[in-house]
Structures are given as structure tokens and as C-alpha cells.
């Protein structure tokens, strides 16, 4: 079923792309191709959590797929409820993350192809590693765990680099595939090229009005699936060209930009009219997603593993909250936002657990924040009217701020 879905999606997106090439279409098309690839016998399959270096996997012929993306995708297609119910019926608590419960349910139901490798990183959360462990039990496969150190020091970078070496050994043992070092070096080159474009994209969105609408860069974090590939460079360049054209020609992402908003962490993944209504009826637009921030320095292709280790360890979500709060504050100021939205995804210890700190940090610079308290994947308890009322009240408050 899933194979057919991705094949059809890839074909229809390709047709749309040929009819009218846009950056968003190209982006979604490339992601669909990654989806199809997990059914391609020329590749091994790797289920992972989000902060696993895909450059290494791709250079070993392993097609990586991170479980949070897949949970989001199933929510987007309206299928998550079925898998949530299944995992809950087997005893998984509704207080845990629905991204993870969805993927566990999908694995239980036989929707997912059997992985060759399972790799989990301790950041952003233990829940992701635990979900992979449960998948490992379903598929009878060993799970490799990467411990991401919380401090940025030369020693901690060495430590993670050594873990990558052990991870490569694990992948070799599980798949029989060797690391192509030249490919890895090339992937670092691609990453650096894409990084330049991504920084330009974000800089262009600092314009008032922003060239992007709320959905142009929605879930852009899933570009990690393309990390270190020529396609990631192509996608990023297309976005840059499109946004630059809009800025040069004074074209806004939408008709009005009355309120500039920042979205903290993940978007709501199931279909909802929330952002469309906010844009069309209130001129409220997401101009920056926290997760789209480019935090890492250019990488050195001569020391690829070490460079990748440094990229992960320096992620703002790793370590004490101060690092993340600093970035959130910086983004709020650079993008001249009027307010911030934290969905405070139920079950997420990162976005819900740090909610009070986000509010404090933004209050210090005079930016109001709203916590929506929604489950971003589980639409069974979603109350659109209530959420809209709260957002309306928030925007009304912003108009008087």
C-alpha cells in the first residue's frame, strides 16, 4: 500500500513540477522520491530519529527515513488515527508522543518495510530512541544508539566522531555495505553549497513583507532527508531564486502582512485550515520557523565525520535551554516578529517542557507568545473552533501591544 502511495505521489508531483516548476513542488517531489526509495532493492533501509547524519547513511547506500517525519506524513494523509488506536490498544500511553505512537502502530500493522538498520540519537528525546527500540522488537533488529554529548568541547566532538565510526561498523555488519569515503566527502561539499542557499532563503524572509507565505517553508526541517545530496542544493537554490525574485519585484508571500509570527518547533501535521484563515482573514503570517534556523558552520570535507559530529553537538536543542532560548530570541529580533506560537505538542518534553522558559525569554524582549496545547499528530481531540478563538484573542492582543 505504502509503495503504491509513494509511487503515485512521485508521479503526480513530477507531472505538477513539469507543468509549473516551483520550489515547494520540487521539495515535496524530492521527499516523495526518498519515500519511494525505501522500496528500491538497490538501497538498504534505515529507520532513524531526526538527528542522525544522513550524509553517512547515503554514502553507504542506506536510505534513511526518520520516524518523526513518517508520523507527520501519516497524520498529513489522515491515517495516523488508525495507528494511534492500534498502539494505544497494545498499551502505549496517550501521554507519550503521538509521532512515536503513530510509527509504532504503523510498524505493528505491517505498513512499514523491514529495516536493515535502526539508529536512534539521544537528542532531541529519549522517546524517539524508545520508539525505535520497540520497532527493533517488531522487526527483530538490533538498534544502534548515538549518545549526543550536551557540551561543545573538542573531547565531546571526538566522542561523537568515534561513535560515528562504530555506527559505520554497525551498518556494515547489518547490510554488508561499505562507506564510500569519496561520496561522503562530496556530500559535505553539497551540504556546504545547500547551506549557503538556505542562509540566503532565511535572510530573504527577514524582508517586510516576507516573500514566503506560512506554508512555503512548512516542515522544511525534513530537508534533512536530502542532506548532502545534489537534490538538496537544487531545492535550496530554487527557493532562493523564487524568494529573491519575489523580493526584487516586491511580491509578498500573501496579500497582507499585518502580523509577523514565529512558529516554535513542529507544525500541526494533520489537515487544518488554521494558517490559511489566519493569513487570509487576519493577515497573520509565519515568517520564521524556529527549526529552519541554520545553526551550523560550514563543514570541512577533509574531516567529514568530525564536521558532522560538530554540526549535531552545536544544535540549539542540545544541552541546556539557554542555547535554544538565545536562538529563539535572536530569530524574534532578526525577523521583527510581532508574536510567537508554540503548539506545545502534547507528549513532547522539549516544546511543552520548556514552555515557561520560551515565554520568559520572549517576554524580556517584549514579544508575546501563545501556547496552543495541541497534539500536532493526533487529530482525534483537535478542537479547531477553540484553537481559532484563542488565536483570534492572541492577534487582538497583538494589535494593541
Amino acid at each position: 500500500m505504502l509503495e503504491k502511495y509513494f509511487t503515485q505521489l512521485e508521479a503526480s508531483l513530477n507531472a505538477k513540477l513539469n507543468a509549473k516548476p516551483t520550489a515547494r513542488r520540487k521539495f515535496v517531489y524530492e521527499i516523495a522520491r526518498i519515500g519511494s526509495r525505501i522500496f528500491n532493492d538497490n538501497w538498504s533501509i534505515g529507520w532513524t530519529t531526526v538527528f542522525v547524519p544522513y550524509e553517512i547513511l547515503t554514502s553507504m547506500g542506506v536510505s534513511g527515513m526518520f520516524i518523526e517525519f513518517f508520523g507527520a506524513m501519516l497524520a498529513g494523509t489522515g491515517m495516523s488515527s488508525k495507528y494511534l488506536e492500534l498502539s494505544e490498544s497494545k498499551g502505549f500511553s496517550t501521554d507519550s508522543c503521538s509521532y512515536h505512537r503513530t510509527i509504532i502502530g504503523a510498524a505493528m500493522d505491517g505498513l512499514l518495510p523491514k529495516p536493515d538498520v535502526l539508529i536512534g540519537a539521544s537528542i532531541p528525546c529519549n522517546g524517539g530512541v524508545k520508539a525505535l527500540k520497540r520497532m527493533g522488537e517488531i522487526f527483530n533488529k538490533e538498534v544502534f544508539i548515538l549518545n549526543i554529548p550536551i557540551e561543545v568541547t573538542p573531547k565531546s566532538i571526538d566522542y561523537l566522531t568515534e561513535q560515528f565510526e562504530q555506527m559505520i561498523e554497525y551498518v556494515e555488519n547489518q547490510t554488508g555495505r561499505k562507506l564510500d569515503y569519496d561520496k561522503l566527502k562530496k556530500s559535505i561539499k553539497y551540504n556546504n553549497q545547500a547551506r549557503e542557499y538556505l542562509i540566503e532563503i532565511n535572510d530573504l524572509c527577514k524582508n517586510i513583507p516576507s516573500p514566503a507565505n506560512s506554508n512555503d517553508l512548512k516542515n522544511f526541517i525534513i530537508i534533512v532527508l536530502l542532506q548532502g545530496t545534489k537534490e538538496s542544493v537544487e531545492v535550496a537554490k530554487l527557493y532562493r531564486d523564487e524568494f529573491k525574485f519575489r523580493v526584487d519585484n516586491n511580491i509578498s508571500g500573501n496579500s497582507e502582512e499585518k502580523y509577523r509570527l514565529m512558529w516554535i518547533q513542529n507544525r500541526i501535521q494533520f489537515k487544518t485550515d488554521l494558517l490559511r484563515i489566519l493569513e487570509e482573514n487576519y493577515g497573520a503570517k509565519i515568517v520564521i520557523d524556529e527549526l529552519n534556523h541554520i545553526w551550523w558552520e560550514p563543514m570541512d570535507e577533509n574531516v567529514p565525520l568530525r564536521s558532522l559530529a560538530k554540526r549535531i553537538i552545536t544544535h540549539p536543542i542540545v544541552g541546556p535551554a539557554e542555547r535554544r532560548l538565545e536562538v529563539i530570541t535572536q530569530l524574534a529580533q532578526e525577523y521583527k516578529i510581532d508574536g510567537a506560537v508554540n503548539p506545545a505538542h502534547l507528549g513532547c518534553r522539549q516544546s511543552a517542557g520548556a514552555r515557561v522558559l520560551f515565554k520568559d525569554a520572549l517576554q524580556k524582549i517584549g514579544i508575546p507568545l501563545i501556547h496552543l496545547d495541541v497534539d500536532c499528530v493526533d487529530e482525534r481531540n483537535y478542537t479547531p473552533g477553540q484553537i481559532m478563538t484563542r488565536m483570534e484573542a492572541f492577534l487582538e492582543m497583538l494589535s494593541n501591544y
Partner: protein
């Protein structure tokens, strides 16, 4: 836990606050990393208290704590007897004192208690209630243990980081004292955060055999991912090993006490009826 550290630091004025980054899983690299983490903690403590902590100081502390473990395990062995000659509530009270008290004083006080209990229990058994191993999230609420015991069950082992499991640690001698500590903590009976569920189940099963338990109550704090994600597998694996298992989720206190009481009472009835069937079949 990382977010707790962040929020605590921000809102609770505390003189010394430090986060230890403890690796999970089984990679051998973890030992040297944790050794370095222990060293960082040592340096931070030295700076905070304007003192020097020598290897000898750490060895002395290890000796004191090893003695505490020995005393605790002697007391705990009283619960392998059937009926147990010390209740779970009494032992948990002593455990709780350990976390609040200077370990040397606790050792002296508790050694005395051990002698008293040995004399007292010569007079006879406490009761014949079903024997329970309590597993799961750390518990600081002793009332939770006494509440279960008042229902008519004996807690004979606490597989908790704040219970018997805390005292299940062996520190081997080596040239480097921090390496010894690091190896001991990483190779000890795994807790849920170490992601080694099979090893954990095997350990619970071995303990259940040793303490002749009739059932396992697995308790998780609400929202505690570390335990909640394990529940379905843990329950299945323990049941497959022939253990009666009850899962309870609570806020660690006794907020929803009557609901929990009903479930524990039902669990107790199941255990008792199974025991009766077993006894009848033997006769």
C-alpha cells in the same frame, strides 16, 4: 530531565546545580565519557566548596557507601524469607532516611536496627500476604508503599532507583577510581533509561525468583517516557515468564487513590486465587 534542570535553574534558587550527561545503551565508549563527566562533577564541587577532592577521599566515600549497601542488603535479605520479617514500608522508611542523612550516621543507626529486627522476628512471622516486586519510576512517597501493604500485599523488593535497586551496585578496585565508578554505574543492573529491556526483564525475573514474588506491580509516573514506552514490552515479557503483572500510572502521590486501590485489590484477588489453585493441585 534536561528540561527539569533548565526550569529548576531558572526558578529555584540553588547554590549548586550541575547536570551529569550519562550515556545510555551499551557502547564501550561510554565508560571513558562518563569518567570524564564524573571528573567534571568533581571539579565543579571542588570549585563550589573551595576544597580539593583526592582519590583517597573518593575511595573513603566508596567504602562508606559500600558499607551502606552491605547493611541494606542484609536487611533486604530478611524479605527473601516467607513471610518477610521486615515490611516494605519499614525498609522504605530506612531507604528514605539514607537519601536525607549523612551515610556514616545512617550506617551506624541502621546496623542497630538490623540487630533489633533479628531479635524481634524470632518471635514469629509478620503475615502471609502475597509477595510483590515493585518496579518502575523513582518513588519518594513512602505512603505509596504503605498504601499497597495496607491493601494486603507485601512489598518484598523495590526495583526502583530510590529503592532496593539503588543498593545493587558493586564497585571494583582499579588503578583509577573514577574509571571504577564509571564502569560500575554503566554496567549495573540497567534501569529503563539504559534502553536494555531484555537485560532488565531478566534481572527482574531473577530477583522475583530469589524473593519468591507472587506478582509484579509496575508503576510509572505520568508523562514519564522512560517507563511509559517500555510498558507494553515489559508487561508481555514478564507475563511470558509466568509472572503476574499489574501496571499502574500515577502522579507519584495518592491523588487517584481509590481507583488505584480497586485495581490493586483486584490484582491481589487474582494472585490469591491463582495461589489457591496451585496449592490445591499440589495437594
Amino acid at each position: 530531565m534536561r528540561r527539569l534542570h533548565d526550569v529548576w535553574k531558572r526558578y529555584v534558587p540553588t547554590k549548586f546545580i550541575h547536570i551529569l550527561d550519562i550515556p545510555m545503551g551499551t557502547l564501550s565508549l561510554g565508560t571513558s565519557y562518563l569518567r570524564e563527566e564524573f571528573n567534571k562533577l568533581k571539579i565543579a564541587l571542588e570549585k563550589h566548596a573551595s576544597i580539593t577532592i583526592s582519590d583517597e577521599d573518593i575511595k573513603d566515600a566508596i567504602e562508606v557507601f559500600s558499607k551502606s549497601r552491605l547493611i541494606y542488603n542484609q536487611l533486604n535479605s530478611l524479605r527473601t524469607e516467607n513471610p518477610p520479617s521486615i515490611s516494605g514500608t519499614d525498609l522504605m522508611n530506612l531507604t528514605s532516611d539514607f537519601f536525607k542523612m549523612e551515610p556514616k550516621i545512617w550506617n551506624d543507626n541502621t546496623q542497630g536496627i538490623l540487630k533489633e529486627i533479628k531479635i524481634k522476628t524470632q518471635n514469629g512471622a509478620l503475615n502471609n500476604n502475597p509477595r510483590i516486586l515493585l518496579s518502575g519510576s523513582p518513588l519518594h512517597e513512602i505512603n505509596f508503599i504503605s498504601f499497597i501493604e495496607e491493601i494486603g500485599l507485601n512489598i518484598v523488593y523495590e526495583d526502583l532507583c530510590t529503592g532496593s535497586k539503588f543498593f545493587d551496585l558493586v564497585i571494583k578496585d582499579s588503578q583509577d577510581v573514577l574509571t571504577s565508578l564509571s564502569e560500575a554505574y554503566l554496567n549495573r543492573t540497567p534501569c529503563a533509561r539504559m534502553m536494555q529491556i531484555k537485560e532488565r526483564v531478566n534481572q527482574i525475573y531473577r530477583t522475583a525468583e530469589k524473593f519468591r514474588v507472587d506478582g509484579v506491580i509496575h508503576h510509572s509516573l505520568k508523562f514519564c517516557d522512560t517507563h511509559l514506552y517500555d510498558v507494553p514490552t515489559l508487561k508481555t515479557m514478564l507475563t511470558e515468564k509466568g509472572l503476574n503483572v499489574l501496571f499502574i500510572e500515577s502522579d507519584g502521590g495518592l491523588g487517584n487513590i481509590n481507583q488505584i486501590r480497586t485495581r490493586i485489590e483486584a490484582f491481589s484477588e487474582i494472585i490469591k486465587s491463582k495461589k489457591k489453585v496451585k496449592e490445591n493441585s499440589i495437594q
